[in-house]
């Protein structure tokens, strides 16, 4: 009886204590941020490693998402004779939802996994222990610069995704389907509001960047120091970050676009 009860209780208890551990890890990282800013070179290096590697993926992804939307929306709008609304529709869908979410998912798959596996490898080969013994705090030296780099990269990547996506919509709508170029851009400019649409999307991207990077770093830093542990941490970082992004997106949409 007691064991059954404790089994029922154990998984929520574990979930709460894991959340607490992630929270403490987050606080430790935040405490180390001033030290990162004192060493801008390491930060720039990490922005290159974390952000730039995701760029080709973001560019190709954005272009195709924009092109697909151009095609789908154009055919749907054509039935009502409303193809002139294409520019605004594509831009709003991208800026508000698709760019932050898809960028975060791609980022979690590309940069998140590489962060988790890099840290997992450092854990497995005792590199963190070695740092501790050398009186160097690994969170300050390794984790915090990667965190800040990730958090700064995702909003930039999101903006890039939107730009390329709009270009994709333009290519299909105007160049392929023959919509007037002036109509496309005018409608886009009239529909999109800078603060409500663009900035809110960027706020989402910032939060997603924090989520994805934190999850990847936490999983990698706390992985079992074995080959299996490394693989598990990498997989978990994508799964958890993706779920977090998708569920958080709903909540944020509900709050930001009331």
């Amino acid at each position: 009886m007691k064991t059954t009860l404790s089994q029922i209780g154990s998984s929520p208890f574990q979930a709460v204590s894991t959340l607490g551990a992630v929270g403490l890890f987050f606080v430790r990282i935040l405490g180390a941020i001033p030290h990162v800013l004192a060493r801008p070179r390491a930060l720039v290096e990490q922005i290159f490693v974390v952000g730039a590697v995701s760029m080709s993926l973001i560019l190709v992804g954005g272009l195709f998402v924009g092109m697909v939307m151009g095609l789908q929306f154009y055919t749907a709008l054509a039935r009502f004779g409303a193809t002139s609304a294409l520019g605004g529709l594509v831009a709003l869908a991208l800026l508000r939802e698709l760019s932050p979410v898809v960028t975060a998912l791609l980022y979690a798959g590309r940069a998140g996994t590489s962060l988790a596996s890099e840290l997992g490898l450092m854990r497995a080969t005792e590199q963190f222990k070695a740092m501790e013994v050398m009186a160097v705090d690994p969170v300050r030296r390794v984790v915090a610069p990667r965190f800040l780099a990730g958090v700064l990269s995702v909003p930039l990547l999101t903006a890039l995704f939107s730009a390329v996506g709009i270009l994709g919509g333009y290519l299909i709508g105007v160049r392929l389907m023959g919509l007037d170029s002036g109509v496309f851009w005018t409608n886009l400019r009239e529909s999109v509001r800078f603060r409500q649409d663009f900035l809110n999307g960027e706020i989402k991207a910032l939060i997603f960047g924090i989520l994805c990077t934190l999850v990847a770093l936490y999983e990698g830093y706390h992985s079992d120091p074995t080959a299996e542990g490394l693989g598990r941490a990498t997989t978990r970082s994508v799964v958890i970050a993706s779920l977090a992004v998708l569920s958080c997106d709903y909540l944020m949409t509900a709050f930001l676009y009331r």
């Binding site: 080969t125 590199q127 222990k129």
Partner: protein, 276 residues
């Protein structure tokens, strides 16, 4: 509040230290003195808590009972800052070297200097090259850890461990997985560095014969307990009286450490089905 610790020549001292991990006591009531300026070997079969013992000495693990004194300071009484200050005078060689994979050998060795000192880069370069020269890897300064053999990685890590001129160096299984030549090189380095830099060394290892050639002082662990201690001659003498010490020193397959993992009698296992 740690009591004043008489400078009687012990750099590290364990007083009745026990350690629990995962609800199991891996070290029990250890009393151990590491004499200053000597090489102390801690030996024992795999899984007897030798590496955990190093964790106690570096302050990574806290004893569940008893005390750990390093250079007269009780580790339990130190906060994180105090522990980090003590660790700057401590070097550690990890089993596989634990070199930072994203840095060259040079940068690995320079790492502690760049983190803890404000030395100009030219001086860092001189110090690092001298340490690399001492381990014979000056020519490999620009290589990355993935380009090194096991023995070379261990030597580079050794250069990194002594680059801050520590007072105490801890070695975790420094010979495991090395070929005989690399083993000889590492042994020579442990001995030479200890002498030339005036270090105190603690070597955890199960390579008995090799340790008997370099160390001055021996502790044998089994099942988390100390079962023999002394200098080279007295350890050899104890082999005659203690079957355990003999089994370990001679590498006998069966003895006080049984060949068989605990199991029920073979007969029961083989014919249990027929009896039922």
């Amino acid at each position: 509040m740690s009591p004043t610790f008489p400078d009687d020549g012990a750099a590290v001292r364990l007083l009745g230290a026990s350690l629990e991990r995962g609800g199991r006591e891996v070290l029990r009531d250890l009393d151990l003195d590491v004499p200053r300026g000597r090489i102390t070997a801690v030996m024992g079969p795999s899984g007897t808590g030798k590496t955990s013992l190093l964790g106690l000495l570096s302050g990574e693990l806290a004893p569940s009972r008893g005390r750990v004194l390093v250079e007269g300071q009780d580790l339990a009484a130190l906060d994180r800052g105090g522990l980090f200050a003590l660790r700057r005078r401590m070097g550690m060689l990890f089993q596989e070297g634990a070199l930072f994979t994203d840095m060259s050998v040079f940068d690995n060795v320079a790492f502690p200097l760049r983190e803890h000192t404000r030395l100009p880069e030219e001086l860092v370069r001189v110090i690092v090259l001298l340490k690399l020269e001492a381990v014979g890897l000056r020519g490999a300064a620009d290589l990355y850890p993935s380009e090194l053999s096991g023995g070379m990685a261990r030597r580079a890590a050794l250069a990194r461990a002594v680059v801050m001129d520590p007072a105490l160096v801890l070695y975790d299984e420094p010979l495991t997985g090395l070929d005989p030549i690399s083993m000889g090189v590492i042994l020579r380095l442990i001995r030479d560095l200890n002498r030339t830099l005036g270090l105190t060394s603690v070597v955890v290892s199960h390579d008995v014969q090799e340790m008997l050639t370099v160390a001055d002082c021996f502790y044998l662990l089994a099942d988390g307990r100390l079962i023999a201690q002394g200098d080279r001659a007295s350890i050899r003498a104890q082999a005659a009286s203690s079957p355990w010490v003999r089994q370990f020193l001679e590498g006998e397959a069966d003895g006080p450490v049984p060949f068989h993992y605990p199991a029920r009698p073979l007969w029961d296992d083989l014919f249990a089905g027929e009896a039922a």
